[in-house]
């Protein structure tokens, strides 16, 4: 059985919970097996949440169980004991704690989120992490999520929604361009290994684009522009390397014409000479 430590002490439950949560997640990939949800006692009563959680990536990769966010003892059948004070049980996390809780593992996105326009958790109109990413049925974040989430609150035709749509489109476009260039580079390298020197350039571009995912949570246009600019620069470097390589090849081939011109001239001259000898 996978172990999910969730012991909390006193008021620093958030910090310690975060530390232990991260430790738990850091070690679970080594022993990442799904736990049979039938054995998780919480789901006997909280079966809706259990069903939702079963569809999540956190559950399927054996990363988290109920206690990692809510505290308590998940395998204890007796609810009194399972939710006893010493178990660190906190029930539903406070609204203000959500960003820090998710951020204890997803530090990048959380750090940028709390800089953005949605950071005021007091304001019930603002989303928290779970508003877009769900609390239990958390799936691997894709760009479609942006399209689905913004319109939950922002009306069609508002600049806020338009900004969200544009952001998703920009990210999609960037990823598409990166994949396209990567595919081209791969097929060219298969034919000619000397292009391998462009691989580190491609990796730089890939990691530049990866920066966009957490940063997008700040919903800061200037920041995203900067991020995309850097990415475009890096991608251009790859494309330039490919183009230079193709150009070099072309240039070398072009030399064939003067070579044959020279040869034809000399062959003709020798023919003339042989005729003169007769």
């Amino acid at each position: 059985m996978a172990h999910h430590p969730g012991r909390l002490f006193g008021n620093q439950r958030r910090v310690l919970l975060a530390a232990i949560l991260c430790l738990g997640v850091a070690t679970t990939p080594v022993i990442s097996q799904q736990v049979d949800l039938e054995e998780v006692m919480c789901t006997l009563c909280h079966f809706e949440q259990g069903d939702a959680f079963a569809t999540s990536i956190h559950y399927k990769r054996g990363l988290l169980l109920c206690n990692d966010c809510h505290g308590g003892l998940p395998f204890e059948a007796d609810t009194e004991i399972a939710k006893a004070p010493g178990t660190g049980f906190i029930g539903r996390p406070a609204r203000g704690d959500i960003a820090a809780l998710c951020g204890s593992c997803h530090s990048g996105p959380a750090q940028f989120f709390v800089q953005g326009p949605h950071r005021e958790w007091h304001n019930e109109a603002n989303p928290t992490c779970i508003s877009c990413h769900s609390n239990h049925a958390v799936v691997d974040a894709t760009l479609d999520l942006i399209d689905e989430s913004c319109s939950k609150c922002h009306e069609i035709g508002t600049p806020a929604l338009a900004w969200g749509t544009d952001l998703a489109a920009a990210l999609r476009g960037a990823k598409g361009d990166l994949d396209h260039t990567a595919t081209i580079l791969d097929s060219l390298i298969a034919a000619d290994r000397s292009l391998r020197h462009a691989m580190p350039l491609l990796e730089t571009a890939t990691s530049s684009l990866r920066e966009a995912d957490p940063r997008s949570h700040a919903l800061d246009q200037a920041l995203m522009n900067k991020t995309f600019d850097l990415f475009r620069q890096d991608l251009t470097a790859v494309e330039q390397a490919i183009a230079d390589h193709a150009e070099t090849r072309e240039r070398r081939r072009w030399i064939v014409y003067p070579v044959w011109g020279f040869i034809v001239v000399n062959v003709l001259l020798m023919w003339v000479k042989r005729r003169q000898l007769k």
């Binding site: 034919a191 000619d192 290994r193 000397s194 020197h197 090849r249 070398r252 081939r253 030399i255 064939v256 070579v259 044959w260 040869i263 000399n266 062959v267 020798m270 023919w271 000479k273 042989r274 000898l277």
Partner: protein, 391 residues
């Protein structure tokens, strides 16, 4: 007053008495050549030119190439990517090796057609066959040097055969590769053979070959039991002196051949594959094209028989003027039997080579896909699913 060249000649001649030598050489070079000598006879000079290119490019490659299993691949990458014109020098050397085998075979075919191997030129022919063996040896040893997957495993496959010789087989093989498997010692000995031993043997044999040709002259088409035609007779028939007339033809062919070589080197630049990995054999490894006939033959006959065929084939060639074709006729029209026999042999070798190339590949012809099995038999591929029948 006199040109510096003439002054230098005078200085040397005073001390070494070179004039008689020069006169003899000049007289020899200006001997008239029989009129049947056509453009096919320029192939020998083309071979000299190509071998010279190999020697020079090989020399340049040696400056940066490192003959160790750890460094060989990296040094080839250095030559290809960083050394100025390195990619070109390497490409020339690579394509040159292919062209040399082709031209050598064509040259040999020409000699066979015109009966040039007959009395009194058997020695020249024998040296020629040895030269062919040397050329194939160059190809065989050079192939390993880049130390990529194709080089490594191609050599493993090619050196696999000798082990089947009874009694001495395994020891012979281990001697060849310097151990029980192809590794660093193999590279060491192949390198020495390729850059030192074979070039020395090549230069020696080539020198003899050329001296004999100059000394004995190009054979006429008369019978071997008739008197060789005199220079006057040849001139009378319209034969022209070698220098400058035929020499210019040779030079023309050389220019054209070098043009082809340079074009190939520029347009189809030599590449290198993945680095050699002794633990992973890639799919479809085969020896270089000129070894494919032997490779394919080994699939049809027991290995112990098949491995003797290539040396026997060379012996067959050597025996051609001595045992097989001892008729005094030189003219091709009066030697139809020998020519027909040679053609059959050539076609069989060609066929084996083609089968060797097609075997274990899938080819699409007019919309239908065929998979060629190990022995070269085609099998229909139904709707893209390959049916591989293991025989």
């Amino acid at each position: 007053m006199r040109s510096p060249v003439r002054q230098l000649w005078r200085w040397l001649d005073d001390r070494l008495n070179l004039e008689p030598l020069r006169n003899a050489l000049s007289e020899n070079l200006r001997k008239p050549v029989p009129i049947h000598v056509n453009w096919l006879f320029t192939l020998g000079s083309v071979l000299i030119a190509l071998l010279t290119v190999q020697l020079l490019t090989g020399l340049l490659l040696m400056v940066y190439y490192k003959p160790s299993a750890q460094e060989a691949y990296g040094s080839i990458e250095l030559i290809t990517n960083e050394v100025p014109m390195g990619w070109f020098v390497r490409s020339l050397h690579n394509w040159g090796s292919h062209l040399i085998v082709i031209i050598a075979l064509l040259h040999m075919v020409r000699v066979i057609i015109y009966g040039g191997y007959k009395r009194p030129r058997e020695v020249t022919w024998i040296i020629g066959v040895l030269l062919l063996a040397v050329i194939l040896g160059f190809g065989f040893t050079g192939y390993l040097l880049p130390w990529d997957q194709v080089a490594y495993w191609g050599t493993v496959v090619a050196t696999e055969a000798p082990a089947s010789i009874p009694v001495v087989g395994p020891l012979t093989q281990q001697f060849m590769i310097g151990g029980t498997e192809v590794a660093d010692p193999t590279l060491g000995r192949f390198y020495v053979v390729h850059v030192f031993l074979l070039p020395l043997v090549l230069l020696g044999l080539m020198g003899l070959h050329l001296i004999l040709i100059r000394y004995q002259g190009i054979s006429s088409l008369k019978r071997t039991d008739e008197e060789e035609p005199t220079a006057e007779e040849i001139s009378g028939e319209g034969g022209k002196p070698f220098v400058p007339y035929h020499a210019l033809k040779d030079l023309t062919s050389v220019y054209l051949a070098l043009g082809v070589l340079v074009t190939l080197a520029l347009v189809f630049q030599a590449h290198i594959g993945d680095p050699a990995d002794s633990l992973v054999t890639p799919v479809g490894i085969k020896p270089e094209w000129y070894f494919l006939p032997a490779y394919q033959l080994l699939k049809y006959v027991p290995e112990v028989v098949g491995v003797q065929v290539p040396p026997l084939f060379l012996l067959l060639l050597l025996a051609l003027p001595l045992v097989i074709d001892t008729s005094p006729e030189r003219h091709p029209r009066r030697r139809v039997g020998v020519l027909a026999g040679s053609l059959v042999v050539a076609l069989v070798v060609l066929m084996l080579g083609i089968l060797g190339h097609l075997s274990e590949t899938t080819q699409t012809f007019m919309g239908t896909s065929y998979h060629f099995d190990l022995l070269g038999w085609p099998h229909l591929v139904a709707d893209g699913t390959a049916t591989v029948e293991v025989m």
